[in-house]
Every structure is written in C-alpha cells, then in structure tokens.
Symmetry: C2
Subunit: 415 residues, 2 copies
C-alpha cells in the first residue's frame, strides 16, 4: 500500500466551524457569547459533546483525576505522542473561540487523518484541560498545571470557588472525576492553536502568529494612606492626598512602560479612592499595577523603576504606602525549532507570519518546561476577547488550523 | 440710671461650653460625635433645647414656614436688628462645633447682656437655620436661602430626601412648620461665628480668622470612555485607556492649581474605573474636579486651563469624554467694614488675626448680598471637620465668642 503524503492534506473548515458553533450552544447566552464556567452544568454538556466527537473519531478517551480529557489516536509506532491541547471552559461572558478553537482544531486534525487514511508515525493526542480560565476556580491553567506536576493533585481537588463549591465534588457531580493519573501521557511535543486575544495581528495585517513565549507577569497592589480633609478649606501646600498620589503612580507607570519600551506593557486597571466624594481629599487609594514582559531582566527593571517612582511620589506628597505582590510569573520561552516550524509551515501555505509573544497565559506554558512546545495565534477582531463579541473570521480559523495540521504532522513523522 | 459700657463685657466660657456639650447629647453617637440630620427626631430634640434656652433668656421666639428659629431681643429703639446666626443640623458623623457654636455663642451674647443689664440700641436676633449641611436634603444652606429669597419657599418645602421624605411633612412631623414668613426679619447686619473646618489658623498659629468671603465653587464631573482590552495582549501604542486619561487629568488638576496659585484649590475626590480589574484596561472612568477660589476671574481661569488639559489628554490617548457641571457658585465677598471691625476687635482683645476666605459654604453667604455680613473663624484642631473628631479648644471658643460679642455690640450701638 502506498502511504499518501501528508503535505497535501487540508482541514475542512466547514466541519471545524460547525463544531465550534455546536459547542457554542452549550452555555450560549441570550444575545450572543457563552458562559461555560469550569465544572458547571454547561461545562458538563460541552465535555459530553467533545467526548462524543472523540469517540465517533475512534479515539481512546481518558479522563484523569482532575478532569482533563484526552483523546488518543495510535500512530504507526508506539512512540510518545504529539499533543494538541487547549481548553473548553470559558469566562462568564466569553466567546466561541478562546480555548475551544484549539481543542476542536485538534479534533479536525484527527478528522482529516481519518478521512485520508493517513496514519502518522507517532500517536496524536487531543487534550482539553480543566479550568484554564480561572474564572471559577483559582489558579488559572489548573488542569494543565496538575498534568505537568506544577500543581499538586490533592491541593487542586480541594480548591473552592467563591460559593464554597469544591473541585473534587464538582468533578464527581458532573461525572468527570476520572480514574487516570494526571501526567499519564508523556508528550513528544505540544501544540496549541489559540486566538490572539489582542489586536497586534489585525493591526499589522498578519494572518498567523508564531508564538515565541508567554510574557512574565508581575501584579502588585499598592495601598496609599494620606489624610482626608475638606476640599475647600485645605490649602494645596497642606495636603496629603492619597488620590493625587495614586494618579501620579498611574501616570508614572505609563512613563516606565515607555522607558523600558520594546514590548513592555504596564496597566493600572484598579484605582479606588476612599471616601470617593467630590469635596473630600481622599484618605486612601488602592491601585494595582500589571506589568508584563517576555524578557525577565526587563520586567525586573520595570518593577525596580516603578518602585522608585512610587517611593518618590509618596514622599513628595507626604503619604504612606504598602505594596503586596498579587502574582509573579517569570516569562516562558517556547522551543525555537517549534516556533520556526510554525513560521515555515505558515509561509509555505502563503500566509504572512509574525513572531510574537503571548500577553496572556495558556495551557501551553505548562508544557514548555518538559517538551518542545509552541503556539499558533490567529487574529482576534478588534483585539477583543473574554467578551461575547470575541470573533475570528472563518478564513483566519482555516489558515490557523491548516498550520496546526501541517506542523503537527511534521512532528508526528519525527522518529 | 447709668448705663454700663459694653466694652468690659466678656462671655462666660463655661456656660457656653456647657450648652455646647448639652446640645451635643441630642444625636450623640457612641464613641463620640453627633448625628443630628436636619428635621430628624434628633434635630427636634436639639431645636426644643435651643427654644427652651431662648425662652429662659426672655427672647421672643419665632419659627418660620421653613423651620428657621429666631430668638428676638428688643433694643433700646425699634431699629433693624443685628443677627447672629448659624445652624444646629449636622452631617451623619458630625462634631459638637460646626454650626452649633455660632448659634450658642449668639445665645451667650444674650446671656451676657441679661446678666449685665445692658440693653443695646438695636435689637439682637439669634438665628438657627434649617438644613445648612445639605447632608439630608439638597441644597445645603436651605433655610437661610429661603429666608433671603434666593430659594423659593414652595420649592424648598417640596424637596425630598433620598428616602422620599418631604421637607414640608418632616417639618410638620417634628412640630417645626412655623407660621412666620421667611424673611420677616430685616437685618441691619449679620455675624456668624464658626469653626474654620480647615488647618490654616492652626498651622499658622493664629487665633482668630476675619473671614473676607466665601470661595467660589466649581464642581465638574467627567466621564471618560476608552476601549477595554487585555492588559497583557494590548501593546502600549494601541491603548485607549480611560484609567490612564483619568489619572492624567488628576495630575493636571494639581498642576493647574499650582499655576494659578494664590489660594486656588483643586481636588479630584472621585475617581472610579470600570471594570476596575487588575488585568483589564479600563473602558471608562468617572472623576470629579472640585475647584475653588475667592477670585471669580481666577476660578474661571482655572476652569479654562483644566478644560484645555483634559481635551489634550483625551485627544492624545484617543478616548472620548463628556463633562457635566455639578455645582457652580460665584465667590461671595463680605463687607470690608465688618471684616475690619472683627479684626480690630480681635486685636484689641490681644488676639492674633488672619484675614482669610472660607473654603466651605455658610449661612452667612446668603446674607452678604442684602446686609453688611462677616464671619469669625476659630481654629479647627488638625483642620478636621465633618468628622466625630472635630475639635476646637475651650480657649479658642472663648476668644472667638468674645470677638463676636464685642463686634456685635459695636454694630448694635450704630444709629
């Protein structure tokens, strides 16, 4: 029997889009968008649907103890598999694409193989990880973290949501407390196709992002304590205005981003004054600073510069401040050969490519320390994500899934 | 009968302090401070107490249709009276002094006259005006505004508090819907002794403030609309950050105050971001700017400069904004002869004096357009007011009340 060459294989974008729309019905919101919080009844419906598709495709389905779904397609040899993974949980007002695209594009790769009769050298696994969003249970990327051992299973199972519901019980309730040990699959490499969730590809008119890594994240909360006083009777020179200090920090944060340049982003997303009244100088302010960079050294430089700025601002205004680290993750670098492979495949397919870092966290980053890992990004219209208006065009979805298909099959033929 | 000269008369500070403490029991809060919101049950108790004192002193008590209390002491001739007025309503967490001091110092002036047997040429009226604070019913200075005709009686009676209770009904309920027409007393001049509610006298080591006027007030609300986006995936150059624009406005507001200088105060007391999340660029921000100056021209200059700043900031960030005037009052200038009289009397009594403007509104400003008017300020410890920790020392109260006594009697001897 002559084995067909895989380079001519192409995904069926109608089938992929059809599955995206079908999955989007589980938790569909009136007016558009999806609410499929992890381990909710709607998540169960979505999982059931994905498991049905996996079974229809003849995959061997396993569910591990943290609820991660894996569909296993045997290869010509019993080697470690190429894993194509993402998630199907959403935020409370999510869209059709975030996460879902990566899982269903994986199933589309399997479908193409089934249709063509082509069997790759290595097995291929399609994975859907539990609670990537972190919208119901903290931390995010929970299932992939447990799979890769960076989060302990027992700890994870005991985590509660804000209403006190425990992961272990919710898994059992929806029938997804599996038997398999997390990490039972030892991946040869890991791919994740995902929507960009940002505006860069669209703004620059590029079709494919070859993701080089995930930015390091530094979240700090500052609480500034000044002296509350009457807005009319307190001369400017006698003020200790926590609100003015907080505003000055927000302005300084932008300045730090510009100084560091080169991909450094800084956001003051929270700024609250107390008592927050028109005619009262604020007694206290709480603000958060979110800083990200793909370069750990530069991220540290940004942290240091901001710390200098806030110290100087608070000294000048005569206010006190405390700071608290809310989150700190070092940048994750993806495998250069994998990134090159994605870029090469995309260009062979006539797509324009941008190498870029991810500003958001993804399941793929949990795999980067243990196996060659990379991600494919497709444009998000308007850069909008975590929003019912999240949208990626059928053309871009098709382009991204074809890159995933060819890159995955290339790796699946490696001995 | 030899008429005693009034220049040797002095107030009895123990009696005045005793009345302040007694009145502070009506609405006393556990832990200190007073809650005696206008037309509440506690306000009724306070009013009853003041009326009892007025009657004990032999004053003719009238209550007008908006609930203003007046105690009338006849003079040697039937001339227009010297009015000593303030208010006894408080904010929800108020102190013992704000307003109450002016009313009770007026009663103390009457008590001194009664004790000495001295009858001034002109009548003296002690007045307590309804709802000066505006803490329950808007606007503030309501009773004095109705008395002076700048607010229509029918309009005022129909005003509701936030729970829907109507002034007319609340006046009737507590027994203070009087028969007298507002404005039935035509004042020869008006004095108000008040705590400074700011830190200037204390900071500068002065004992008496001779108040030259009340600052003009300009309150503007700005709503800035940007584009919400992911804090990690949105490059700095593609941001339209409402939070950054709001912070920049708050910093610019301080700059405008410094540019105008010379008593200009600017406060951004409200600053709210939406959605106010660590990792989301703010879609919108709402902030308020409170600007005050005793000089109308300079206040207009400050308004103009801030408008220029916010337009430039929002243009640079690519965000839209709307503005809404929440309040606008022109400055009120007190009568220069009255101000000089207060300063002269204070210096004759060995007190240090500062001529100063009031940053807060007072009943006196309603009288300034119709008769010679001025205020006496005494220091507020720490500049604190509208707070249960409001405090003015017995020594300062004594000094201020003696200035009021001598200034009022000087005017009361004018033909």
């Amino acid at each position: 029997m002559t084995h067909p060459t895989f380079s001519n294989l192409r995904i069926d974008s109608d089938r992929l889009l059809g599955r995206l729309m079908s999955l989007g019905q589980d938790g569909a919101l009136e007016g558009g968008g999806v609410c499929r919080l992890a381990l909710s009844d709607k998540d169960k419906l979505g999982r059931d649907r994905v498991v049905d598709w996996m079974k229809e495709l003849g995959l061997r389905v396993t569910i591990d103890k943290i609820g991660n779904l894996m569909g296993f397609l045997p290869g010509r040899e019993d080697l470690s598999p190429v894993v194509l993974g993402s998630h199907i949980d959403t935020v409370a007002t999510g869209g059709l694409y975030d996460g879902n695209l990566g899982v269903l594009a994986g199933l589309e790769v399997i479908s193409v193989l089934k249709d063509s009769g082509y069997v790759p050298l290595r097995p291929i696994v399609v994975a859907a990880f539990t609670n990537e969003e972190g919208a119901r249970f903290a931390p995010d990327m929970l299932g992939s973290a447990v799979d890769r051992g960076s989060l302990d299973l027992e700890t994870a199972l005991a985590i509660k949501d804000s209403d006190g519901f425990v992961i272990a019980e919710e898994l059992a309730r929806i029938g997804y407390a599996g038997e398999a040990e997390p990490g039972h699959i030892d991946p040869y490499c890991f791919f994740e196709l995902h929507v960009e969730q940002g505006p860069v590809l669209e703004e620059e008119g590029e079709q494919i992002g070859a993701v080089t890594g995930v930015q390091g994240i530094s979240w700090t909360e500052y609480v500034i304590e000044g002296i509350s006083n009457h807005a009319g009777t307190t001369p400017m020179r006698l003020r200790h205005d926590a609100g003015f200090a907080a505003a000055s920090v927000a302005v300084a944060a932008r300045k730090v981003a510009e100084e560091i340049g080169d991909g450094q982003v800084v956001t003051v997303g929270v700024n609250e004054l107390n008592p927050n009244l028109v005619n009262v100088i604020a007694r206290s302010a709480r603000l958060t600073v979110d800083m990200r960079n793909i370069d750990e050294q530069k991220l540290q430089q940004a942290e240091k510069r901001l710390a200098e700025e806030i110290a100087a601002i608070c000294k000048a205004e005569g206010v006190r401040y405390t700071s608290r680290t809310l989150a700190r993750f070092e940048p994750v670098m993806f495998d250069q050969n994998m990134v090159d492979l994605i870029a090469d495949v995309a260009m062979e397919q006539g797509r324009s490519v941008r190498c870029m870092s991810s500003g958001a966290g993804h399941d793929a980053q949990m795999f980067a320390p243990v196996c060659p890992t990379a991600m494919v990004f497709v444009p998000s219209q308007g850069g909008i994500s975590h929003n019912i208006e999240e949208y990626t065009s059928p053309e871009d979805i098709k382009a991204g899934a074809n890159v995933l298909l060819q890159a995955a099959l290339t790796k699946a033929e490696e001995k």
